[in-house]
Amino acid sequence: MLKLDIDPGLTTRARSAAARITQSFTWLFDDYSSLAIERTVLRLLGIDGALPDGKPLPNVIVDHLLSKKALAQGAAIPVANAMLARNLTAQGVADAVGKGELDLTAIPQAPSDQLFAVLDDLSSRMLTHILAQRETREAQFAKFGPRRQPAIYVIVATGNIHEDVVQAKAAASEGADIIAVIRSTAQSLLDYVPYGATTVGFGGTYATQENFRIMRAALDEISEVERRYISLTNYASGLCMPEIAAMGAIERLDLMLNDAMYGILFRDINPKRTLLDQYFSRMINAYAGIEIQTGEDNYLTTSDAVEKAYTVTASQLLNEQFALQSGVKPEKMGLGHAYEIDPGLPNSFAYELAHALLTKELFPDSPVKYMPPTKFASGNIFKTHLMDAMFNFIGQLTHQGVQLLGMMTEAIHTPHLADRSLAIENARYIFTAVQDLDASLCLAPDSFVNRRANQVLAEAVEFLERVAGEGLFQAMAQGEFAEIKRPENGGKGLDGVFRKDARYFNPFLDKLKQELGL
């Protein structure tokens, strides 16, 4: 078996530096909330739908409270209060506010115990539903058997959810284990979640609850045919991180792109907003049994994969610590990395083997998410197909958790039906060919692979210790991450972060903490 000989001292130092960094945010997590978190609470209370102009009702209510300067207590209590006063469902309240018929701040406050009772009831019902979804998933896996490892993960990205369904089912019938419905370009930056089914999107469909529902239904159908539970994933990170997490929990998504820092670094979303939102969204993921996936591959699309390999390791360690704070178990942490080494580099395979083994050995219990070559994918589809084969080789050899298949047309267009099929054929051929190869091999003493892995880890330790010293916000402001400067008070969405007042109440935050033992 290929096994690195990693300096255990380095591992300990790495984890403790990461923990020091992430544990310095209790002030933020305890004392602040965000517009997205409040919208999430409303959704979890059962509010959905949108105005004729497309503005979703959760946004309408939160904006309404904000405009009345009544949000510091959270959105839950005003809605419960209106329910009691008007004998309405939560949705009924939302509809009324949407029509401009109801001013939530104009209703006298009911006694606390009554309010809490309403909210306790509603939140229990929702958590019961989410738990049922989790149990359905687990029952399916029990019935059909566990996911293969590495799981075959492919994207669909036609921009039309109905066309996506065709492509997803075809992929499942060819062997895909996980379908990712790619999100329409830069949804991260929308401070609302669009409503309804998408039929014309650029580079993907929106992450909407209806799209989730349509695709999950299709995959449930094909799972029965294939006698294999086909998982569904989408993207949470962005300005609506917790909302999308909640929608995923409700509609039984199985994995969710959810990176603690992606929004900050790659979408210029405000650091406080992002960290706060990820804290709550990951609790929802954890409770729903959804496997999170992180976006370390993004570092390597702009930086060199050899020179900056340590940034991947450092980010994985931070994502791990943040996830632990939200109650995510290691078995549900799909920490990311990517095969982005220049194919012209001599020994690119050995470098990649070192990096892949390092990730796998640092996080032995995690279904590590392995991303394919994209940066050096060119219009030469034959060459790209080979690079994807080398990627598949390493994925199987080092037992990665999730193999995000590369497409030979990566540099050209979002995948055609045939591209995806050939990608699956590629993976299945290579996976079978090197199935148990790992058992026949070991690393030579003082091998390049081992030295390289230790070097990357040492660089990550040095980096994390420096960040722990400076503080994460300071380090980001100075461009220590991904070579981009992100000041603490810059970026989008800072005005959506607010300090909770003493009356603040979020039934889900409290219950989830309790359920997750936090």
Binding site: G379, N380, I412, H413, T414, L417
Partner: protein
């Protein structure tokens, strides 16, 4: 546009997307790229994207492209000639012949002329067979004589006559410059000249042979890639039995 009219599919129904690659005697630069695009345009493609240009040396360049065709096919109008006798396994075929013909069938097979690729004909005829289907030699109802590789057409016909064969099996694998067409045509012409054509079933096979092509060339049947002995044996048994019925 009715439901029968179809076009290639990339990721949107009927988008007409196709992948194309080819070499041209041009330089691997903007001029070469334009030549490649013009060629595709002239063929009739739209939305041409030349996504890769590779220098091949010696004044050639290789292009990889995606483009859109407006060509359509009406599936309602497709008529293919396929061997349509049902496929039986070895035991069933033996039983069928015993019942319907009551005698052994003599089959003489060969890979003719310069072609030395015997794996295909062996897969059909040899004891061992192919992919868990025994070959004709193992069938009780067949007397299977495999002459092997590079058999002149004359020798094949002579042997078939000598054995009083019911069926001739011919394999052709090399297709460069359509040599297989030439060889197969010549065999049939010789057979006609020797008045053997109507005395036997003439069956050909090989990776570029289809039933359609075989018929066109004057054969009774043709079998391509992925054929098993069972396909051929069933076809022979049923066809000969039918012939025997109406004399």
């Amino acid at each position: 546009m009715t439901k029968h009219i179809i076009r290639p599919y990339g990721d949107t129904s009927g988008d007409g997307k196709m992948q194309i690659s080819f070499s041209l005697p041009v330089s691997a630069d903007a001029v070469g790229k334009e030549a490649a695009a013009l060629l595709l345009k002239q063929i009739g493609f739209d939305d041409i994207e030349i996504c890769s240009i590779r220098d091949l040396g010696e004044g050639f360049a290789h292009f990889i492209a995606y483009a859109v065709t407006s060509a359509t096919v009406d599936t309602a109008k497709i008529k293919v000639k396929v061997v349509d006798t049902p496929v039986m396994d070895m035991e069933a075929t033996d039983a069928y012949v015993r019942e319907n013909l009551g005698r052994q069938i003599t089959v003489v097979g060969a890979c003719i002329e310069s072609d030395a690729h015997t794996v295909g004909i062996d897969a059909i005829m040899n004891m061992k067979g192919y992919n868990h289907r025994y070959g004709l030699e193992r069938y009780q109802c067949f007397n299977a004589i495999n002459l092997g590789a590079q058999v002149p057409s004359e020798d094949l016909l002579q042997r078939a006559r000598a054995e009083n064969a019911d069926v001739i099996l011919v394999s052709q694998v090399v297709t460069q410059k359509n040599i297989h067409i030439k060889n197969l045509t010549r065999l049939i012409e010789l057979a006609e000249a020797e008045h053997l054509r109507d005395k036997m079933l003439f069956i050909c096979g090989g990776p570029r042979i289809s039933h359609e092509l075989a018929i066109e060339l004057g054969y009774d049947a043709g079998f391509g890639t992925g054929t098993y002995s069972t396909d051929v044996a069933s076809y022979i048994a049923i066809t000969l039995a039918a012939k025997a019925q109406k004399p």
